[in-house]
């Protein structure tokens, strides 16, 4: 993608080559090696004014962040780090200029303003020559910083553009310019073209018209449009909040499912649950370390890997400690608390107390735009789907397989299960391993949302217990509904109360709710519970 763009620019540069006085151009570039941003901004302006095609090369290099200069001579070079050395190339010809030490070259720093300016310039160019996606993004970018100067570009492009989305942006851009027109009919038409679009620029541009357009019809139309947009925005906000709620719910769900096994099914008050999540997250980190060139797939590898790692650790914990504690459920709290301390410190000793960097693959970043005001983030979306899949798989395992039956039998009456020929030791170990493994999987997902550090497990332990208990211990549906209702309620009240109070409100609500339903949302009923 990048290479392609670079290639096309090189092509263009070559086509437009007008040999200017080399000295002039070089001299223009001089301030780039300084620390003065204002001067640099001027350089960009001046370079663009020269119409020199080499400017494009410089711009692209700046945007990609590989334009450097030698600290001693001030010579501009392209540099990329490999190992401890910079590989240098000539900016215009691309030919290699050898290597340089880390401290022999400096990067040409620019600030946001310059970068933004460069991007706009590039967008104008890309609208002409970019790929379809480039053109769409360019049109969108240019449209929201609308400027009468762009009219010829937009009009020209509209003649030949074939992509529907790009055309729409171009039309909107022109309509936005038309809003300033002196002719009320043109303004009217523009309002119609904009068609209550939810992009912020539209409402922003219509507001002045709605407030004081001299023409009454136009004013009213603008007012109507603004009103409609506002209504739509409200609807969108609710939708957005619900999405956020579901997404928060799915995070809670993922964090809690493993606990729903180890605690809900087995009755182990598993304080090390959070550390299992942490192990999963660190596994993701290690997997990414091991396959630096396939970050895109690393998550897919990390899921089974995290399941195995956390699951195995879980089995070790069960065999080594917990199996001696059945029938003494409260003591599992003590032992697993100890284990959680040990695991935290172990990770701290091995990986250092610093957070570790987990990269989000391309396909999980960014968001999916529903309309100008509503965009759903991909990572959250995948996590929602993922959490539901995990839950479904678990339900099938528990309810439909013989192993699931054995698991439930063992946890209810270990002695009798053994008398029925069930290898309770195995089943216990595997069950605990399963719960831990699922927590590990949750860690993979959470590594995409938050820190990967030795304390990350602590963050989720309280919420996880709350969800499991709120839903009703031992009931996976309860865990689902519990997680979702906590998530959604939280997000629906957060706009009113702020994040801190929302959390307090939720906690108090759960406390009160438990009074109504002392055994959670999906309580087990009947005689069987009482003994």
């Amino acid at each position: 993608m990048k290479a392609l763009r670079f290639g096309s620019l090189m092509l263009l540069a070559w086509m437009l080559w007008t040999p200017a006085l080399a000295d002039d151009f070089e001299r223009l570039l001089q301030p780039l090696t300084s620390n003065n941003m204002a001067a640099k901004a001027q350089v960009v302006q001046k370079l663009a004014d020269t119409g020199d095609a080499r400017a494009l090369v410089i711009f692209e290099a700046i945007l990609d962040g590989n334009l450097h200069f030698r600290r001693d001579t001030g010579e501009l070079v392209l540099a990329s780090l490999s190992g401890n050395m910079f590989q240098l190339r000539d900016p215009y010809t691309g030919e290699s200029l050898g290597e340089a030490g880390r401290r022999e070259v400096s990067r040409v720093n620019v600030n946001n303003a310059i970068r933004s300016d460069l991007r706009t310039r590039r967008a104008a160019l890309q609208l002409e020559i970019g790929t379809a996606t480039d053109r769409r993004n360019a049109a969108r970018r240019l449209m929201s910083q609308i400027d009468e100067e762009l009219r010829p570009l937009f009009e020209g492009r509209l003649q030949v553009e074939s992509s529907r989305a790009t055309r729409r942006y171009l039309e909107m851009g022109l309509a936005l310019m038309d809003l300033q027109d002196t002719d009320p009919r043109v303004r009217m038409a523009a309002i119609n073209t904009l068609d209550n679009d939810l992009l912020p620029v539209v409402r922003r541009s219509l507001t002045p018209l709605a407030e004081n357009d001299p023409n009454e019809a136009v004013r009213e139309a603008a007012q109507r449009s603004v009103r409609d947009i506002d209504t739509l925005l409200k609807v969108n906000r609710v939708a957005e909040n619900v999405y956020y709620g579901i997404s928060l719910g799915s995070v809670l769900l993922l964090a809690a499912i493993g606990l729903a096994i180890t605690f809900g099914v087995m009755g182990v008050i598993n304080m090390a649950h959070g550390e299992m999540i942490m192990l999963g997250a660190y596994t993701t980190y290690v997997v990414q370390l091991m396959m630096p060139n396939h970050i895109e797939y690393s998550i897919l590898v990390a899921i089974p890997a995290a399941f195995m790692v956390a699951g195995l650790v879980g089995i070790l914990i069960e065999r080594g400690v917990i199996r001696f504690l059945y029938g003494r459920p409260l003591e599992t709290l003590l032992a697993t608390f100890g284990i959680s301390l040990i695991l935290q410190q172990a990770v701290r000793s091995i990986f250092s107390p610093l957070n570790r960097q987990v990269t989000t693959p391309e396909w999980m970043s960014g968001s999916f735009e529903i309309n100008g005001a509503l965009a759903l983030t991909y990572n959250r979306f995948y996590i929602i789907i993922f959490s539901l899949l995990v839950l479904a798989a678990l339900m099938v395992l528990l309810k439909k397989t013989h192993f699931g039956l054995q698991m439930r039998a063992v946890t209810q009456n270990r002695r009798m299960a053994s008398a029925m020929g069930i290898r309770t030791g195995w089943v216990d170990a595997l069950t605990f391993g399963l719960g831990s493994g699922i927590a590990g999987i949750a860690g993979v997902a959470l590594s995409q949302l938050t820190n990967v550090g030795p304390n990350m497990g602590q963050q989720y332990i309280i919420d996880s217990f709350l969800v499991v208990v709120f839903g009703g211990v031992g009931n996976l549906w309860g865990t689902l509904v519990g997680a979702m209702s906590l998530g959604i309620t939280n997000k629906l009240i957060e706009p009113w109360t702020g994040a801190v109070l929302a959390k307090i409100v939720i906690l108090v609500a759960v406390i009160l709710f438990i009074q109504k339903r002392p055994r959670g949302l999906f309580a087990l009923k009947g005689r069987s519970v009482e003994d």
Binding site: I269, V321, L330, F337, Q345, I511, E530
Partner: protein, 384 residues
């Protein structure tokens, strides 16, 4: 088990008696040694050691409170830190008011943090907290009342087991979040600190330190005796019955919710007193005392010491915290390994905690010898 509570204490509670003697000895010796001995003497007790052990005693009292509800009544409260912290805040508020106009901004009424958060006047709940007696009453009553309301609601609705544990955790967690909020008027994350005087005496004077230590020891002893009386009485047996067969106890005509509420409130108030004594000795109270992990740690102390024995809880609190102090200064990078391992080992090999070890050893020897405890050999005596 046929004797009255007091006789029972005298005849059966050997562990408790020993513990109380040690604590009594400590609370006399340490303050005196601190006050009277020259600082180069071998037996001198530095202010560091004194405040450190003062803290342990407060923790001991806190553990005692938890053991009363958990060990005897089966209420696993994962939120007892809340009552401790509330008591501490009560004391903290009093100490804050004692600063008077000696704060950095020199405001005669408002504590520093209020000045710089632009409070116009003292929030209503700070009123009267400059009077020692009132502050102390509030510091015990408020946690007691909270425990009463919370407990009564929960026990009446028959919230039990883990459900109760988790909502107690939610309680302390929400209090923590609330106290973290600067709007609450309790100093937010920084909490209350920079205390100067108590009852007009400087907190940094040796005399006050010694007195606080002595008070901690004494109140711990009193709290222990009160708890011991409770558990030795028939109410104590009812608590055990509630713990192990709640619904059955109900059919015997006992109002389980009241039994539990009683234990819970009593325990919360003891915890609050521990908090009151804790704050002037450590010099700060802030919302992290409410953190759920803190409360879980209390449970751990009790379990390590020996749940359901009272003296075990006190011992556990002191031992665990002593080890923690020791490890964190000797093995700052490794101490979590040791502490974690300690917890695991205790659970695995000392199911009755530290205080059960002796009994375990005796049992082990008895079993090895095939020896039969008199009166226990039911199989040979049944019938006829």
């Amino acid at each position: 088990m046929k004797a009255g509570p007091i006789t029972q204490f005298l005849t059966e509670d050997k562990g408790g008696q020993r513990l109380l003697l040690v604590i009594l000895a400590l609370s006399i010796y340490m303050p005196l040694a601190h006050l009277l001995l020259p600082s180069d003497s071998m037996f001198y007790v530095s202010s560091y050691t004194l405040t450190l052990w003062g803290k342990y005693l407060c923790y001991g009292m806190l553990a005692l409170a938890v053991d009363l509800v958990w060990g005897y009544c089966g209420i696993l409260s994962l939120g007892h830190g809340a009552f401790f912290a509330l008591g501490g805040y009560g004391m903290g508020m009093y100490l804050m008011r004692q600063i008077g106009d000696r704060g950095v901004y020199g405001d005669p009424v408002l504590p520093d943090f209020m000045v710089f958060l632009s409070y116009e006047k003292l929030p209503w709940f700070w009123l009267g907290m400059d009077m020692f007696w009132f502050a102390m009453i509030m510091a015990v009553l408020v946690p007691g009342l909270l425990a009463f309301v919370f407990g009564w609601l929960a026990f009446r609705s028959r919230v039990t087991g883990v459900y109760l544990s988790i909502i107690t955790q939610a309680l302390t967690f929400s209090l923590m979040l609330a106290f973290f909020r600067n709007e609450m008027g309790f100093g937010g994350n920084n909490g209350l600190t920079d205390f100067r005087d108590i009852l007009g005496f400087s907190l940094q004077s040796s005399g006050v330190r010694a007195a606080l230590f002595f008070a901690s020891g004494l109140l711990l002893i009193i709290a222990y005796l009160v708890c011991r009386y409770i558990v030795n009485s028939r109410l104590g047996r009812t608590m055990v019955a509630v713990r192990d067969a709640e619904s059955r106890t109900r059919f015997l005509g006992y109002r389980v919710e009241w039994v539990k509420t009683f234990a819970f409130v009593a325990s919360a108030m003891i915890a609050a007193i521990a908090g009151i004594l804790y704050v002037p000795q450590v010099g700060i109270i802030n919302p992290s005392e409410f953190s759920p992990i803190q409360s879980i740690e209390i449970i751990v102390w009790v379990a390590v010491g020996g749940r359901g024995t009272l003296y075990g809880a006190v011992l556990g609190a002191i031992v665990v915290n002593y080890l923690k102090t020791w490890f964190t200064s000797h093995y700052p990078d490794m101490w979590l390994f040791f502490l974690g391992a300690l917890f695991v080992v205790t659970t695995l090999f000392m199911p009755k905690g530290l205080v059960g070890v002796w009994g375990q050893v005796k049992d082990y020897i008895a079993i090895r010898r095939g020896y039969q405890k008199p009166g226990d050999g039911t199989a040979s005596q049944g019938g006829a």
